[in-house]
Amino acid sequence: MTLEMVVFGVTFVVALGSSLAMVFARNAVHAALFLVIAQVALAVTFLLQGAYFVAALQIIVYAGAIMVLFLFVIMLLGVDKRDALIEPLPAQRPLAVGLGALLAAEVIYIVFKGIDLVGDAGGEAITALNRDPGNVLAVARVLFSRYLLPFEATSILLVVAVVGVMVLTRRISDVADLQTPEDLPAGAPVKEIAV
């Protein structure tokens, strides 16, 4: 038993345990925190495979940026303990069970079939790539050559989403502010809309 196996075992227990704890946590903030722990554990498994770059992204993007925003929303909206137990969407639960079963079936299929598809050579090829040009260069090469178009398209999509959210959530404090410059008499001061 190597040190690597020990680290993997600990990470495995932490990831699975915190994922379960997330599902069963009564407090929304606690659930979010357990999800953060699960994501950090996932980053450790990436590190174990020599995928440093992916591990860093996992922590910076998911644990560092996205979950902080989640936490922010939960904290500021003050999700009450009672709220968490009321089901706003009645169809949600059976649908979740159905989709969950589908996902589980998919995972089981890939675990049993995927090893045959990839083979031992697949894992070795990735390890070799991580060692020789390094994880950063290997990711950068495919990202900026073969997958450049999807990469750029995704970034544009994200920008569009951000701008869209800004426009949709823009709160207008006073109806009088809605007036457009054309409605005003000439020379009148144009009021800007407070956001």
Partner: protein, 409 residues
């Protein structure tokens, strides 16, 4: 003994564990010195004496304060969220310690046939690791404020998180030009790229006049600060904001928020926050030295090989810590909307512009040397920034919603 070493993974693992323990202990001792130094320097700047009772020059004062804090009663507010309240200070302190793992604090040394690097872990994603540790640090602050179950901490935490997330972007963007010119994310490689004097690199190529005077530049070190000073300024400002220090110490503005997110903390838990904050100062200083001031590079005599790089690193880092204290003694606190304005509307566009400039210069290195071009663009960049920075009245009115509603722009 040997079978124990083999069991835990060979001599390299033993060296790694020993390094972690030694660096951890040294950082704790260093913290005592930094806190003492800050109090003495502040006192000096305010024409006071400062702590001078315990130990020579009051050196042991911080130790006494630490013992006092640890032996204090451990309390918990009634409305606090039990586990989160306890975990928050630990997260804050650990995140600061983590960031130091990728700081190269000296050259390598060979002991008993084993090469020992003076860096905890030379990751090929060193800079990203530094950013990742910073983004984990936000949790310590946000959770502390929320879990205290009290108003002032929550307000402080919201401010702090918003500030740290905003300035994290500028901080990350200011590192990209360095990655572009050095071609690596590894901190060790970045320090290695800054070794030697400017004379030996392509600094003077292409211009005959400059080539002839290049011998006068033998003693000018080849640091990135010469060509990358706009990135350095952005890094420094964003770094100070990341550490929540003056003039960006709004999250713990004592005149408005008692002590911000750590209002409800005391004793050993408060000590953890304190430790985390001062360690963060040291880490940001060490990063500034590593990226822009040649890291541990410096003139060294032939004897005591490994001591000089370490000494140079500590000296340069110490200068930056001094700068942090100096700023605290000098500058008034920013208004909150001004802080956000500076981060989002000035630093982020400026760093994006500088990335573009560096990238363009980096493509073509045929005639003029890159560094001269970067220097020339740097001056242009400064002119543009000053011109934009003067600000038009519309932007000034934008930070005061009340004035805009009144229509008095």
């Amino acid at each position: 003994m040997n079978w124990v070493i083999d069991l835990i993974g060979g001599p390299q693992t033993v060296i790694a564990i020993a390094k972690v323990l030694i660096v951890f202990a040294s950082l704790l001792v260093l913290m005592i010195l930094v806190v003492w130094a800050e109090r003495r320097i502040l006192a000096d700047m305010q024409a006071r004496i400062g702590p001078n009772r315990w130990g020579p020059f009051g050196l042991l004062q911080t130790l006494a304060d630490g013992i006092k804090l640890i032996t204090k009663e451990d309390f918990r507010p009634q409305l606090a969220d039990r586990w989160t309240y306890a975990a928050a200070p630990v997260i804050a302190a650990v995140a600061s310690f983590l960031a130091f793992a990728v700081v190269p604090f000296g050259d390598e040394v060979t002991i008993a046939g084993h090469r020992i690097d003076f860096i905890l872990s030379d990751l090929n994603i060193g800079l990203l690791f530094f950013l990742a540790a910073g983004s984990i640090g936000v949790y310590g602050v946000a959770l502390a404020g929320w879990s205290s179950g009290s108003k002032y901490p929550l307000l402080g935490a919201v401010r702090a998180s918003a500030q740290m997330i905003s300035y994290e972007i500028a901080l990350g963007l200011s590192l990209i030009p360095i990655v572009l010119v050095s071609g690596s994310l590894s901190t060790k490689a970045i320090v290695a790229a800054q070794a030697g004097s400017v004379q030996n690199v392509t600094f003077f190529d292409g211009i005959p006049v400059l080539e002839s005077i290049s011998r006068y530049f033998e003693y000018v070190p080849n640091w990135y600060i010469w060509s990358q000073w706009p990135a350095f300024l952005i890094f420094l400002i964003a770094g100070i904001a990341e550490t929540n220090r003056a003039p960006f110490d709004l999250p713990e503005a004592e005149s408005e928020l008692v002590a911000g997110y750590m209002t409800e903390y005391g004793g050993a838990k408060f000590l953890m926050f304190f430790l985390g904050e001062y360690l963060h100062i040291v880490t940001v200083s060490a990063m500034a030295v590593t990226l822009f001031f040649g890291g541990w590079n410096g003139p060294a005599p032939d004897f005591l090989g490994w001591v000089w790089p370490l000494a140079w690193f500590l000296f340069k880092t110490g200068l930056f810590v001094y700068l942090f204290v100096w700023l605290r003694a000098t500058l008034p606190r920013l208004r909150y909307d001004r802080l956000m304005w500076l981060g989002w509307k000035r630093l982020i566009p400026a760093s994006l512009l500088w990335i573009a400039v560096t990238a363009v210069v980096n493509i073509d290195n045929a005639q003029l040397s890159r560094n001269w071009k970067l220097g020339a663009f740097g001056v242009m960049f400064a002119v543009v920034m000053v011109w934009v920075g003067k600000g038009d009245p519309r932007l000034r009115s934008a930070v005061s919603p009340q004035r805009r509603l009144d229509g008095t722009t």
